[in-house]
Amino acid sequence: MKFSSRSWLSAAFLAGATLLAAVSPARVSAAAEDKTLIVRFYDDPAGFDPSNIFRIENENIAFNIFSGLTTYDSKTGQIVPDLATSWETKDNVTWTFHLRKGVQWQKGYGEFTAADVLYSYKRVLDPATASPYVSELTGIDTMEAPDPYTVVIKLKAANGGFLHTVANYHQGQIVKKEAIEAAGGQVRWKPVGTGPYYLDSIDVNSRIVLKRHDGYYKGPAPIATLDFHIIKDDATAAIALRNGEIDLLMRQSKEEQLQILKDAGFKMNHVDNYASSIKVMNLSDPILKDVRVRRAIAYAIDYPAITAAIAPTLQAPAYSMLMPWMDVFSKDAPEYKYDPEKAKKLLAEAGYPNGFTLKSLNTSAQGVTEQQQFEIDYLSQVGIKMELELVDTPTFNQRRNKGDFMTATRLLPAVNPDMILFSYLHPDNIAPKGLNGARYNNPELTSAIEAARAEADPEKRMGLYAKAQKIAMTDLPYIPALANNVYWPSKPNVTGVNINYLAQVNFWEVDK
Amino acid sequence: MNELRPIRSALLDVRNLHTHFLTDKGTVKAVNGVSFQINQGERVAIVGESGSGKSAMAMSLLRLLAYPGKVVSGEINLEGRDLNRLSERQLNEVRGRLVGTIFQDPMSSLDPVMRISNQMIPPIMRHLGLSREKARAEAISWLDRVGIPDAARRIESYPFEMSGGMRQRVMIAMALSCRPRLVIADEPTTALDVTIQAQIVELLKELTAETGAAMIFITHDLGLVARFAHKVGVMYAGKLVEFGPVKDIFARPRHPYTQSLLDTIPPVDQLERRRLAQIPGFPPDMKLPVTGCAFKDRCAGAHRRCFEVAPELEPRGHGHAAACWLPEGLGAGRQMERALIPPMEPAADAGEDRVVVEINNLHKHFTTRSSLPWRKPPTVRAVNGISLRIRKGETLGIVGESGCGKSTVARLLLGLDPATSGDIFIDGMAQMVFQDPSSSFNPKMTLFNIIQEPLVVTGWGTKAERETRVRELLGQVGLDESYMHRYPSQLSGGQRQRIAIARALALKPSVVVADEPTSALDVSVRAQIINLLVDLKQKLRVSFVFISHDLLTVSYISDKIAVMYLGEVVEYGPADEVFNNPAHPYTQALISAVPIPDPEAEEARIQKPLSGELPSPLNLPVGCSFASRCPKATDYCRTHKMVLKPYSKTRETACHYAS
């Protein structure tokens, strides 16, 4: 009796919504106004199926449609409960999650239960889904739901970072079986989640409209409609904001436009140090395999000066692969401050007193950036001739994934420090299979991170991570260059734009 | 008679007209003080060579000059109004209404993208104040009068749907449609075939007589003048040098230039061939100031006074005036220069008399490619069964209207196109001289390279030998060796044609094919080239195939003539006989259409221009191809094809009724 149960469910949903609305009078008045927030969206949307979503702007939409068992606090970046109200583990192997009750699916798909969690994870694991995030979940040994509000997951090996895996991000986002099946081949365009907003309509060329999910478990969001307008050019987007055509500018990445907007009195919502940008050193290269050469490069470039010169707002110097706000960040790792004399000395020791040619693989999407021009300039002062190989983005990605380069750049966008260390430093992930493009393999470090992952004691774990960071920064397979800041300028009346460390905004918090 | 006193009834009185072209390189004084009068209904011909300013003068009358031309001074009194003082708007009331104009090239003088009706009717409505319907009826009646068949329907045609002759008729209808008092015709028949030319001239004559319009007729063809004009003005270097009644001018020319011009024309009577008169030198550069008589450098009778003071147009009696210090011009002296051409010496031995070119049953069909595989492509039979023989040293003239296939024969003879069927035997090699001297040379080559090209290509001699040969050839065509390193653009038309001949002779060909070699040249230069060809023929015993529509020239230079019509030879025989006693009705019509530069003779001739035009070669008639235009044609002609048959001992003709 599917029909009747469905109508019953929607009746309950309506009742729940009315109840919630009654509880919070402020929200009622907000709802009555039916506010619309117009947000700049900076590229063509590519779909919102969690199993194969990619690119931050799409992920940000999905972040507001779906929920995970856990999520990230917008301000601190710490893991906080979402669909799971609490969890426990003793050994980082068996994890028990207690689910929130009464959570309603969007579009009348009923109440959220443990079965949805199991379905979602299995879907990612199913080879037919061909999810690129499958490796995130392959560590799961068994999953079961002893009751509709409990999920027990047993891992093959201890993983202290598992809460990141089940967060509201990629594979961690929970989907509804019925909705997936109803969408058929168009899952990416028909997302149904439990988040604060649902997808109302989409025109892939020009706009995405999200509407408030009135049955959201935390209560309806203040803004009724999120209208994302696609504006690709940063300068045009700034003009649109100054013209008052949009309320919120998702990501302004031109320093000079930020200056203009700041001077014009717009609100500069931002998150600092969201991710670090690193130079990947290919250790199979005959020159770069010498650690002295890598250190010389690190000493030769004055990144603080570069950031101060070209993008004091958008960039900051970075001294580690991990960001200072991460819980496992260690201050104990070596730092490489600008010292051209030391660089020259190291080069001479390594047998390159007259320098060498450093080929740097880069994407041509931005042309040659000012940063790269500065790098060339600095390196030339110690005798290193940096040559840029500029290729278009798909080619760049392909070559970078194959490890076909001498040096290349990468952004490390992840809130899970464990993930960063494993992906980039563990020998199992050496390119082309994984992200370890440096082909770095130091057993000492490998054992440190493996042990850290299994370690349940936070203090000991921290020690192991500190050790790993120290080794990594000593061996220097990746030279940290810059930390990136993300800016979402808005009109002054827009409040609650808290950009998390995944560069996403939880629109439930936003009002105007 | 007081000839030069303005007659009160003069329709047009032009006084001291000056027209300049202000170019970057200096002011060209194209018209340099011209005065004349035209009476009602009078036909005045203005003759002169290219550059004499005759067209600029005519265009100045209505201020139709294009930039940078400008009427600088003078009076143009039309019925008492000075056109030169009218504003552009006032002049627009005169243009078309009081003065109609007929231009030279009918192919380009009508708007190609506009129907005839749209070009003809609005001016009639405007100038005569008629309603559209009445104007239309008027236009149709004019088209009818100029001989456009089915005028009511044809008025909706586009110009490209008509032949050149038809377009010129339309032009005439347009010019006359608002009943102008004066018609200016600027070389109205130059671009047309001789038969059509005759028709048009007759038409103009009739219509102006009918409407009482006066006419200014610009031409370089003295024959036409004789046939057509009441009065003649001869222009040289921007001035009228002689003006007077046509008979008087032809009978007793007073100016040395007029006299020389008349002598350059091949004589009609072929009893004895004399060399043509030549006018040495070139006309003066109109940008430079001229002191004295402009003709002095080319005049055999020039004396000191001619170099100091320019003679003005002075009356010579009987309404005749000339601008020369000598009362009789060259006078009796002019006849003395012309030498008799000795008849060709008989061949020294039998071999010298052999046939060098033999053409047997030659066919050339052009098939337009159709891209629809299932559709049969149409075929044009450009040459349709021709047989000819040319002996060594003999000159064969081929005449016929454009489209008769004479140029195709030339190309086949030269091996430029393959024949569809039939044979061509050439003993030795054929070379060619082209029509248009301005486009027949590679502009990037020096004359030396142009002349030696055949030698280089065939690997003839060493470099030094080739140079010697080029010098020799230049000598043969009467050009200085210093020309060797110039470019074609630096030569005059006549000089270029000499180069073309030198080049053609380089490999000592047995036959030289000359396709209209003189038609682009001025009268005086034409005479030089004809004389040169005659000399070469005598000296080198080269055979020539001389292709032209100019019957006078052809009959003058040729030993034998072949008359072509629609790809066939209709008459073939010795030049004198064919010209003086044509057997085929087509030949007869052609010859009667040729204007003779003798007003007395012209008056005596009975004009019966050939009617109609050349039928399309796409669908040839079954019988005699000329039957559609032949005055003698019978039903038998229309159904039975006639082939070339002996007519007399020396001649062949293709007419059922020739004998």
Binding site: E256, F374, L390 | R411, F441, P443
Partner: protein, 295 residues
């Protein structure tokens, strides 16, 4: 490029002797040519002698003089990295002019050879060649550019190739139509009556007479190439900085338009001057070549 497309000029039969001194003098006495040279020659001289001018090198950064407006020290001002715009502009002229001329030369050469063959031999060769040009004309040039950059990386060569490839079909067509109009000229017939070889006809009679209009087209193509390179730079497909092509300079500067107008405007003005003078040059050549437009 779809970005900027300047069709090649309609041509007429043009006769002109470049070989003769007379022709050169006529060309030099043309007012448009004079104007073009008055702009081009000083720019080129400055470019050539830039290393000897008392200005910083094009790549020299100066963090003490960032984003300075034009002044006596920096005539064109400085950019975000404190580099002297004048110096960069002059270096950019060098690169851009090279691109322009390389494109013109390449398109001209290929167009000349292919167009001559197609026009002269006609028949199957012609039809195949025309089909190929059709295909290339229907092929968006941007795609070509992206493809080439993907294969070869950014740099001078792919840029020149990408722009040339989209120009070549036009040149082939122009040359073909020129050859067709010459093929039936009397002097070709004259050479054929002495059985001159096809090679002789093409090299002696046809090609020399098509050079002039092709040169006109080439000078326009050169101007166009400089602009297209600028467009490609905008899309990240052009010459790579810090080597400053004029396109790069404009692109880099255009985002600072509100704060520092000089960064993009002044190099832009130089591009304009060069492109205009190239157009004047082509106009001048055309006027000298074509007596009809000389009135």
């Amino acid at each position: 490029m779809a970005l900027i497309s300047i069709p090649l000029p309609a041509h007429r039969s043009i006769q002109f002797n470049f070989s003769s001194l007379n022709g050169t003098i006529r060309l030099l006495s043309n007012r448009r040519v004079q104007l073009a040279l008055m702009i081009l020659v000083p720019i080129l001289l400055l470019t050539v002698f830039r290393p000897f001018l008392p200005i910083p090198g094009p790549l020299e950064t100066n963090l003490r003089a960032m984003t300075k407006p034009p002044s006596f020290v920096h005539l064109f001002g400085t950019d975000r990295m404190g580099r002297d715009i004048l110096s960069r502009t002059l270096a950019g002229v060098q690169i851009s002019m090279f691109v322009g001329f390389a494109v013109a030369l390449l398109s001209l050469t290929v167009g000349l050879v292919m167009g001559t063959l197609a026009g002269f031999f006609g028949g199957v060769i012609d039809r195949v060649m025309m089909t190929i040009t059709d295909i290339f004309l229907a092929f968006p040039s941007l795609l070509l550019a992206i493809g080439l950059v993907s294969v070869m990386g950014t740099g001078m060569l792919p840029v020149v190739l990408a722009i040339s490839l989209s120009d070549v079909p036009r040149f082939i067509r122009l040359q073909r139509s020129l050859v067709l109009s010459l093929r039936s000229r009397a002097y070709i017939d004259a050479a054929r009556t002495v059985k001159a070889s096809q090679m002789w006809l093409m090299t002696r009679h046809i090609v020399p007479n098509t050079l002039a209009p092709l040169l006109v087209a080439a000078s326009i193509a050169a101007a166009n190439a400089i602009l297209v390179e600028a467009g490609l730079s905008f899309l990240g497909l052009g010459i790579m900085p810090p080597a400053p092509s004029l396109g790069n300079l404009i692109r880099d500067g255009q985002t600072y338009l509100e704060q520092a107008w000089w960064i993009s405007t002044l190099p832009g003005a130089v591009i304009l001057l060069i492109a205009i003078s190239l157009h004047f040059l082509s106009d001048g050549i055309r006027q000298v070549l074509d007596p009809r437009s000389r009135k």
